[in-house]
Amino acid sequence: MTASVDELHLIARRIRKTVLELSHRAGTPHLGSSLSCVEMVTAAYWGGLNLDPAFAADVSRDRFILSKGHAATTLYAALAMKGFFPESWLEDYAKSGSPLGEHPSPGTPGIEMATGSLGHGLPVGIGLAMASRIQAHDNRVCVLMSDGECNEGSVWEGALFAPSQRLNRLTVMIDYNKWQATGRSDEVTALAPLCEKWSAFGWRAVEVDGHDVVTLSQWLNAPPDPDGRPTVLVAHTVKGKGVSFMEDDNNWHYRIPSSSELARALAELQPL
């Protein structure tokens, strides 16, 4: 782990603040989804993987894919703090001509692939892990998906294939916030029991607290599974986490915070 526990918590609060401000300023949705994966993104960039602009052109670098591309603001906040692009870029987020759109676009520093259409990250992550193995690189590949994303057939095509290849340097994190755009994710499809499904597919499947940045970091740093299985962290989270009046309220999938709501939300994040 490269950052201390206190630092990890501070970084997560700063990312939350940026996410709230960006949604308010640009008037863009998916705030609840962005808030629920803050600790996972923090763990990836500061607690587990080796993600640094210095290695941006190194083909054997660790890879992080935000497959739930609608949480772009969380990723942008992390990339700016990590120095992939100037923090000033955030000011133009989602404005005409900005490289930072509502969904991540390849070619933007730190963005590995286009996401926004769900179910793309896992197959691409599998291909990256296979390329590393062919070339004898020992880097890690991490894909962050949403629970609603698990509706997509391509997720389960990948879930079937990755264990057959024994890709134990591949880790999937599922932001299991129990909501998708218009309903409870366990009701829209028979998602539960989610961890058991992945386990039955041949993955090292672990249920974790998706807001426990320390445990998440430890798992991302864990040695590859000795049995060759890829790892999936089924991370229980709360949609809208960190802002009391947004937590577990699916209206914040699309709602934009007003100025007073932003002020109330930021006040809850203290101390920064």
């Binding site: 286009a114 291909g127 296979m130 390329a131 391509s154």
Partner: protein, 307 residues
């Protein structure tokens, strides 16, 4: 053609250690030699075409040169959004080889027919669309496709297609290949109907209609400068393809012609009709049903000339 593909990719993989071959659970024994020589560069990704395209994208991002091989209809229609988002959006160098394109799997029924693949892939930015006429063109184009910096799709036949060329032709992506000259009619053929196209030209020639034939192995990008010259030189340009008249080579040339103010020649598009072929039958039968025989195509051209 599939044997030529297997042989050529096995040879190319010898000198380029970045080539990785993905198969969608087809061609079991076809790739035995490849698998034996490069065991860590062949993967049967299963009956999961969407996943296969995503995996190819990941391999390309990780520095490899993936070649994806499966039945054309599944590679294209099943995985279209993955092709668009994972390959075309970032413009990754992945070669998709669709076997049995057009009516190559005619006897398997309409689930296996692929007469709209060019139309849908041609619409995607950054995509190169190739249709070799025979095994020799396939060999030339495969090596060239692997040198591209972006994605490409090569629709190929299945097995036993007659050879048009006697050896590897000096063809380049984007440049039509001339097989015979003539200044009355020019036949532009993409794909495996090229032998029939040459026979049509001979038939026309026997009644004094001087007919040129070109292999339009590259449907995208079109050589627009060359088209401009051609449409000034001949009276009638005919496109022939085992593909729908909507959106294939004929569609591409028609789109270009619509925007060209100097395209004097008329255009006749021959291809498959806008319908599902419900009848069972082999490829020759299906071609007959679609009017893609030498006799029917010759008559169509004569009629067009008489109007």
């Amino acid at each position: 053609m599939r044997n030529a593909f297997a042989d050529e990719i096995t040879t190319l993989a010898e000198t380029d250690s970045r080539i990785v071959l993905l198969s969608g659970d087809i061609g079991n024994r076809l790739f035995n030699d490849f698998k034996e020589r490069y065991p860590d560069r062949f993967y049967n990704t299963g009956v999961a075409e969407a996943d296969m395209i995503g995996i190819a994208a990941g391999l390309a991002l990780g520095g490899m040169k993936p070649v994806v091989y499966t039945i054309a209809s599944f590679a294209v229609y099943r995985a279209y959004e993955q092709i668009r988002v994972d390959l075309c959006y970032p413009s990754l160098p992945v070669v998709i080889v669709g076997v049995g394109a057009g009516l190559g799997y005619a006897s398997n029924g309409p689930t296996h027919h692929s007469c709209e693949d060019v139309a849908v892939l041609r619409a995607l930015p950054n995509m190169t669309v190739l249709a070799p006429a025979d095994a020799w063109e396939l060999r030339s184009l495969l090596g060239a496709a692997l040198q591209l910096s972006g994605p490409s799709y090569m629709r190929i036949g299945k097995k036993g297609e007659p050879l048009v060329h006697e050896s590897r032709p000096a063809i380049q992506i984007g440049r039509p290949f001339e097989l015979r000259t003539g200044n009355d009619v020019a036949i532009l053929c993409s794909g495996t109907l090229l032998p029939q196209s040459l026979n049509v030209a001979s038939e026309l020639e026997s009644t004094g209609v001087k007919t040129a034939v070109y292999s339009l192995h590259t449907i995208k990008p079109l050589d627009e400068m060359w088209l401009g010259r051609l449409f000034r030189e001949v009276k009638l340009v005919v496109t022939i393809e085992e593909h729908s008249r909507i959106g294939g080579l004929g569609g591409a040339v028609a789109e270009w012609k619509a925007d060209s103010f100097e395209a004097n020649a008329r255009l006749l598009r021959l291809g498959t009709p806008d319908q599902i072929l419900h009848h069972s039958g082999e490829q020759e039968h299906a071609r007959e049903m679609c009017g893609l025989t030498v006799e029917k195509m010759t008559n169509d051209i004569r009629q067009a000339l008489s109007k």
